[in-house]
């Protein structure tokens, strides 16, 4: 390549950089105008209509798509491996249906979520409905925080000594009402998917004063079962029995959430209930 003469080089650099400068100054002008005098404009998006996957038995279709929503139990808090029950359900379903594609669509669980907030999310959040509509299996947990996190803002582990059984009893009807709303919404969003609710357990069974809390928990579970029973595609798996005599084996060190083995048992039960 022949070296460019300095005269030509100057022309090239000069012209291109002057043009660049003008372009950039125009950019500054647009940015200042746009930021200092903003105009709100409605944006018309092309609404995307998602098609619900067909219902029916899992063994019939080719794809199993799982969406998980709920609280810290669904998040997998307490499981040192981070899998929680959701990822173990995916793995177990893969074993159960070897030829099929099993996919976790979204795990949208949020630590500390209560049923009123979940209902709000189901009602307003397009992302939630989008992810739920794609699924043919929906797993969820909710209610634990409604019942136990009576003093909001306190971490759950420290609550044991302040837990008040009467308060627990008082919280229950409100919690159940909200759960009924959640279930209704869920059915509206996706009536085809198989929905599994993971029942509550009493994490304080081994503390003498709170053992009778199990009776309230059982009442909760029974009421929830009544709610779910209306919809043939919904069911509940019990977990209370795992955390009574074997509580040390299955509960994590925060004395509230299950550990890996505990989640494994829950996952096994969920998979057993799906067909």
């Amino acid at each position: 390549m022949r070296p460019i003469s300095s005269g030509n080089l100057w022309k090239i650099i000069g012209i291109s950089s002057v043009l660049s400068t003008l372009l950039l100054i125009a950019g500054v002008g647009f940015a200042v105008k746009d930021t200092l005098y903003p105009k709100g404009e409605a944006f018309s998006e092309s609404a995307k209509v998602s098609v619900l996957p067909a219902g029916g038995e899992l063994s019939e279709g080719n794809d199993i798509v799982i969406t998980a929503i709920g609280d810290s139990l669904t998040k997998g808090t307490g499981d040192a491996s981070g899998e929680g029950y959701v990822k173990q359900v995916v793995a177990l379903l893969k074993q159960k249906y070897p030829g099929k594609s099993v996919r976790l669509n979204n795990n949208l669980a949020v630590n500390g979520l209560k049923s009123d907030r979940l209902e709000q999310l189901l009602e307003t959040d397009k992302g939630y409905s989008f992810a739920l509509k794609q699924a043919n299996v929906i797993v969820f947990t909710i209610g634990g925080n409604d019942l136990f996190q009576i003093l909001s803002g306190k971490s759950l582990g420290n609550l044991a000594n302040e837990l008040n059984l009467d308060k627990l009893k008082a919280e229950m009807p409100q919690g159940l009402n909200r759960l009924a709303q959640v279930v209704k919404r869920l059915h509206l969003i996706n009536p085809n998917a198989q929905v599994v609710y993971v029942g509550l357990y009493n994490p304080f069974y081994d503390i003498e004063e709170f053992r009778s809390g199990s009776l309230q928990i059982q009442q909760w579970n029974e009421r929830v079962y009544t709610l779910l029973h209306e919809y043939p595609n919904m069911t509940m798996v019990p977990t209370f029995d795992l955390f009574e005599n074997t509580i040390d084996r299955y509960l994590s060190s925060d004395h509230f959430h299950p550990n890996h083995a505990g989640y494994q048992q829950i996952a096994t039960r969920i998979v057993q209930s799906l067909e």
Binding site: V18, S20, V32, N111, G127, F130
Partner: protein, 331 residues
């Protein structure tokens, strides 16, 4: 007009001097090495996301959920929560309007690369050009020859200033072009017309969407490049001043780097020290105002930052010209 015609050869001389010193070549080489690295990193992220998520919407929903989990934790400082809350609301806005904020294409990559480069990477490139503009002449002794010519001193400095500005513009544009060309080879050359939302108004930790509007991405990119140019010019003017004041080029680079880096650190931690907003380097991240990210210190706006940057620029110009025309050249 006559004065300008007589200045032109001087400017040409200074422009060619910078070119012959191969400073711009170094900048292009740095870009040619760094952009493929970032492109590859982005490509890996894209691959992981495609493996885990069927649709960008699923990915966005998951991202929002993860932010919400961080928000529910008691161990996160309130400042972080605030910016996360804002991020959640903006992502939610994109989701609600069915617009992908991180579409994998060349233009989107360029947009995010440029906005990440504005506080450190561009200042660094500019320093490579500007730091030895005057001090280099002093180190090599050529300043005596320069000043013994029958030309006013201010004209010499002015021609250096114009040459520097030309290269600053060229650096910003060439970075954007290279970024687009390289990343486009991997992600595709599309994305010019994609909508981008701007105009988010932040009040506390809430985002008001009354002024939000969608603009095509090319327009956004143009505005972004313009704002980066303002930041880069401010750094260039300050570097020119330091180069006039300090004898050695090394000292000049270190001084400017220290100023720029301390600004970045301050933006991250000094949100309670309100006077820090008058420091130029806290104001360099102009592109955040477009994206609607919370400013480093509450109350800062694009107008404020522009005024601060322009003031610093004018002040450093004044100092440069005053010192350069009055200074004794001793060595």
């Amino acid at each position: 007009m006559k004065a300008l015609v007589r200045l032109l050869p001087l400017i040409q001389n200074e422009t060619l001097k910078i070119w012959k010193k191969k400073r711009f070549l170094v900048i292009v080489l740095v870009l040619l090495i760094l952009i493929p690295i970032f492109t590859y990193a982005q490509y890996r992220i894209k691959e992981t996301n495609e493996m885990n998520f069927k649709d960008w919407r699923n990915q966005l929903v998951q991202q929002i959920s993860e932010y919400q989990n961080t928000l529910s934790s008691d161990r996160i400082p309130d400042e972080w929560k605030r910016s996360q809350r804002i991020a959640v609301q903006q992502l939610q806005y994109y989701l609600d309007h069915d617009v992908n904020p991180n579409s994998p294409d060349g233009v989107t990559f360029t947009r995010s690369f440029l906005s990440n480069a504005v506080t450190l990477f561009f200042p660094l490139l500019i320093l490579a050009l500007a730091s030895d503009l005057v001090s280099g002449e002093r180190t090599s002794g050529t300043i005596k020859m320069l000043l013994t010519r029958p030309v006013c001193r201010w004209k010499i400095l002015f021609s250096k200033l114009v040459a520097l500005s030309l290269y600053v513009s060229l650096t910003v544009v060439v970075s954007a072009v290279l970024c687009y060309l390289i990343s486009g080879a991997v992600f595709g050359y599309k994305g010019w017309e994609l909508p981008v939302f701007t105009g988010f108004v932040i009040k506390g930790s809430a985002v008001e969407s009354g002024f939000v509007h969608a603009i095509p991405q090319w327009h956004y990119l143009l505005m972004e490049a313009g704002l980066i140019w303002v930041s880069a010019m401010t750094v260039a003017l300050l570097a020119l001043m330091v180069s006039v004041l300090v004898r050695s080029t090394a000292a000049s680079i270190v001084t400017m780097m220290a100023a720029v880096i301390s600004g970045t650190l301050l933006s991250n931690m000094a949100s309670s020290w309100h006077s820090a907003k008058f420091i130029f380097s806290v104001n360099l991240q102009l592109t955040d105002y477009l994206a609607g990210s919370p400013p480093p210190i509450t109350g800062m706006t694009l107008g404020f930052s522009l005024v601060i940057l322009v003031s610093w620029g004018i002040a450093s110009l004044a100092v440069s010209f005053f010192v350069f025309t009055k200074q004794d050249i001793l060595n």
